[in-house]
Amino acid sequence: MSMRDVSPNGTPRIGVYICHCGTNIAGTVDVHALREYAARLPHVVVARDYKYMCSDPGQALIREDIRAHNLTRIVVASCSPLLHEHTFRKATAEGGLNPFYFQMVNIREHASWVHEDKEAATEKAKDLIRAAVFRVTLHRPLERRQVPIHPDVLVVGGGIAGIHAALTLANAGKHVYLVEREPTIGGHMAKFDKTFPTLDCAACILTPKMTAVKAHPNITLWTYSEVVRVDGYVGNYKVTVKRKPRYVKEDVCVGCLECIEACVYKDARFPDEFNLGLGKRKPIYIPFPQATPQVVLIDPETCIEFKSGRCKKTCVEACGERRAIDFNQKEEIKEIQVGTIILATGFKTFDPRRIPYYGYGVYPNVYTALEVERLVNSAGPTGGEVVLRNGRKPESVAIIHCVGSRDENTNRYCSRVCCMYAIKLAHLIKERTGAEVYNFYIDIRAPGKAFEEFYNRVQEEGVHFIRGKVADIYPSGAEGDQLVVQVEDTLLGKVRKIPVDMVVLAVGLEPQPDAEEVRRMFNISCSSEGFFLERHPKLAPVNTFTDGIFLAGACQGPKDIPDTVAQAGAAAAEALALIDAGYVELEPNTAYVVEEACSGCKTCIPLCPYNAISFLEEKKKATINEVLCKGCGACVAACPSASIKQNLFEDEMIFAEIEGVLAHA
């Protein structure tokens, strides 16, 4: 006797539904043959094929058949269960059955879309349907567990994405922990002077938001801090945050900056990180005037007190009664409880040293676009003057697009923002210096709102646009401080050599160097380029595969500020939806011990990564805490007496599937 005949709930009456998905399935798989085939499988009472099973009428078919034919099990062969399992479970429940009396068969992603041979694809689909029919007879009624959602939210990364998400949530009355690794929030946007395409001043739109974050009663802002550990699951994450010492007490410092003035170093002489080394700072400093929080910090690497212990400590004197400076400050570890998490860790720019012929790091007058953002910034190291390292104003400037983007040797993807910021920088450089500006591009990508118009405007301003990939940059001129840009102009069809004073590399956007570690810590996935992977590229663009963890901004892929803000709002809304529902329903695929069968061998206990299994000493049996069990099934596979079962993935169900895919009818 085959095990499929042994149903725990009497003789099943199965309905099988085959979706055409338009032509997505029906174009490759013979859906009528499938229907006829399914109708002959054991216990199948109804078999139908329909254009779109997920549509309302498709779901209605299931509901009505359950009533009309007393169906007790439902099988739908359509797309991936990761996409529509919940839809059909719902339809099954609406028809009056337990939603887990349902099994889904993936004949689109796993058959029609990946095979060309129609006959073979149809045979495969038959095998998969047969497996589901065998399996579903063994299903049991299950209930979803509800777990409460802790209302607090963690936002990681304080760029514009993290700032916007945090403010949205805080304004909705939720408590937010915003954790930023740098001493200030603001991210890349804080470095810009103007933003494309409207050329509005970045600081004017960003600073008020930064201040609002600091002032908001619902936001706990932890800068100079990093998440070091994440435990738990949706609704109940326990997060450990490391707060690095700034050697200045944050709650005492008032941001008067007198200590900086008073430092024994009269002149700033250490490369300043915020200005990418184009400016200098002292050992006690604030990254930039609007830094948030307005709290100074001390760099122990350069501070004399840290190095020799013999500084006059004029800073402490200047601070006086406030006593904010604390050379003994230690790293602090905080533990917080949150229900949802938004990752907004942003991007890093491409390192152009990887393309040696552009000469970055070799020729002093080759700059990255980010450095030039600081030069054109009126609060930057040159007060907004675009000048070369020797102080001279450039008379001609080359801007090279797609550096580290759309290139087989570096990154194949388009970084989406470089064309537009390169056009913006062309405009700003021309405005500030009157120089001749040449933009070297492969294609201009200006698909956003008002982008093309902005491109046209800058063309009309007299910026030259030369279509071609720059092949070489080499020095010339008496002092060798001029640079020649060699390019094959694909519109003129000839090689051109254009001498310039300054070269700007429009570097692409790449994942943060530690994206891999962050991804692991939060148990999410990365796409092949290394950006965080969304749950679905179209329908769940801010969700991840881990419930309760959302994505915002450039950590998910290159994007501009408007798209970043939109995504941050969406991530906040997703978190809010969970919090306001108050609870989530978890998959009931947890494991349990069948006590009578347990031999008390304890094999399972050390296997559980969540310490969900304990040993009942008086009974000499193992027991599983359902709340802690996450349903991996590792203990089930290991139990020597087969006394542990996993709901939805019982051994018998999997054996039935194996039998089903292999048995030819």
Binding site: S80, P81, L82, L83, N106, R108, E109, H110, A111, W113, V114, H115, E116, D117, E119, A120, A121, E123, K124, D127, L128, A131, R520, N523, S525, C526, S527, S528, L533, F545, T546, N589, L607, P609, K630, G631, C632, G633, A634, V636, A637, A638, Q646, F649, D651, I654, F655, E657, I658, E659, V661, L662, A663, H664
Partner: protein, 165 residues
């Protein structure tokens, strides 16, 4: 394991004559990485051999050695297990548990006279749709060269092995 079990109901999946034997491979893919990667191969419309039947489990750590042996007993010519990369398992270390069982299984298979190549374990992350395609194609070819799992004539097996090497 009963002799006849291996030979049972063997034939071509395309229903054509017996000379068009097609390898039959059962795959166990973990929900979070490899199953998702197979979905990605689908949404990317990659084309690969139609010989694999995927059974979804939550984690590769759920794969009981009995599943693998049962698949062989019921007529599979190959079994493929797909899980998250080391360090990436959604349940922390299920894939390491799977790896240990896999190594053990390969030894058992050797004892039973089943070629080791018939069982394969692959780490395939959610973004590696291309790897799903490559692994399935490759494994199908390997099994095709090995031939059906159970062959009556040992001499034939030798001939196949010589030809394959």
């Amino acid at each position: 394991m009963p002799e006849e079990a291996f030979g049972h109901q063997r034939g071509s999946t395309s229903g054509a004559g017996s000379d068009s034997w097609q390898p039959r491979i059962v795959a166990f893919f973990c929900n979070w990485c490899t199953y998702t990667a197979a979905d990605l191969a689908g949404t990317s419309r990659m084309k690969y051999a139609p010989n694999v039947r995927v059974i979804r489990v939550m984690c590769s750590g759920r794969v009981d050695p009995q599943f693998v042996l049962d698949a062989f007993a019921r007529g599979a010519d190959g079994v493929l297990i797909g899980g998250c990369h080391p360090g990436d398992c959604h349940y922390m270390e299920g894939n390491y548990k799977c790896l240990r069982r896999f190594l053990l299984l390969r030894r058992v298979m050797k004892e039973l006279g089943i070629e080791e190549e018939r069982l394969r374990l692959e780490w395939i992350s959610a973004s590696e749709g291309e790897k799903v395609r490559a692994v399935i194609n490759e494994m199908t070819e390997v099994i095709r060269r090995l031939g059906p799992l159970h062959r009556e004539v040992p001499a034939e097996r030798e001939a196949v092995e010589v030809a394959a090497s």
